[in-house]
Symmetry: C2
DNA sequence: CCTTGACCTCAAGTGCACTTGAGATCCTAC
DNA sequence: GTAGGATCTCAAGTGCACTTGAGGTCAAGG
């Protein structure tokens, strides 16, 4: 639509860094881990295909949300790193990502709810509040507490019907 | 209501560890950072007041959500570490926590939405998709990209009306 | 051609969040 | 009163996710 700048489809590492806000050293590190890919010029410099921008953006968001890079890599799954991903490549990956995001969102919502509940009911100064003293409430169920945790984990059993 | 076990109100570090799922070494580390507090027995062993359970649980959830411990500490703000927090202590802290959680949740929702959009519109194989190639869409606005990021940050200006 | 800034590799260093180990003390139960 | 497990301190080590530095190459402008 606006072919004023024709950036011949490949980005230098510096351009990638500017556009994604990720340092060049980090981009090289991601490549070492197999999280992103690049082609090389005759003089051995990296050139990134345009679709890597999305990949890098996803990586940096995921990181901020607390996902370790190993999980990020796994979440990309079979999205190819060199060739431009196909529709179904992205579709599969998106499902995986959304699953992870949803889990995380629900963990947050749960915590938000618990905090609200405690404010709302005015019970905060009382010893009896189950939210303040989760162990008391859970003690009756048995010696397996963990209340606010357990819920934020990424389940390993992905069970993505292949 | 059920005074069968009367655990005289103070927990050992081992009990804390079991109930929260946080290792004893981590609990000592948190104490060193000033994130949790304890009293000592005559023999110099830690004893935790009951309300520390909540604090530790919050810490471990926050960590899983990607909050650095420095932010966690700041989020507790003026909730006292030694005395049992008052209603208004918790109320202030809860507001701060909820603010942070909400920001994070919105970042996730945004990302979820973008992923859905891309699946939904079937544009994934097209070069023109603004979500796939955010820089293209943003190029017209000026050279200040960053699209998916920028949104997950905890803003420093807390502006909690004291 | 030459300069200059972007880029390269590789090794080492950094900061966070812990864990591990050594050597000693505590405390509960027999 | 003593054995054994839980706890203590302090120092050093670990893993992740990078960053920094040294020493050198590449590529676009003058």
């Amino acid at each position: 639509m606006n072919p004023t700048h024709e950036p011949d489809d490949l980005l230098t590492i510096g351009e990638m860094s500017h556009r994604t806000g990720v340092a060049t050293s980090a981009l090289r590190y991601y490549e070492e881990l197999g999280l992103v890919g690049s082609v090389r010029t005759g003089g051995n410099q990296r050139r990134y295909p345009r679709h890597m921008l999305r990949r890098v953006s996803l990586i940096s968001v995921a990181k901020r949300l607390g996902m370790p890079l190993s999980d990020v890599k796994e979440a990309f799954g079979d999205v190819p790193i060199e060739s431009t991903p196909s529709h179904s490549d992205w579709q599969r990956a998106s499902r995986r990502w959304k699953k992870r995001l949803e889990e995380r969102r629900r963990a947050i919502e749960r915590l938000e709810h618990e905090l609200t509940g405690c404010i709302g009911c005015g019970c905060l100064s009382l010893k009896a509040c189950a939210l303040l003293n989760p162990d008391d409430a859970l003690a009756e169920i048995g010696p397996g507490p963990r209340r606010l945790e357990d819920v934020t984990e990424f389940p390993e059993g992905d069970a993505e019907r292949s």
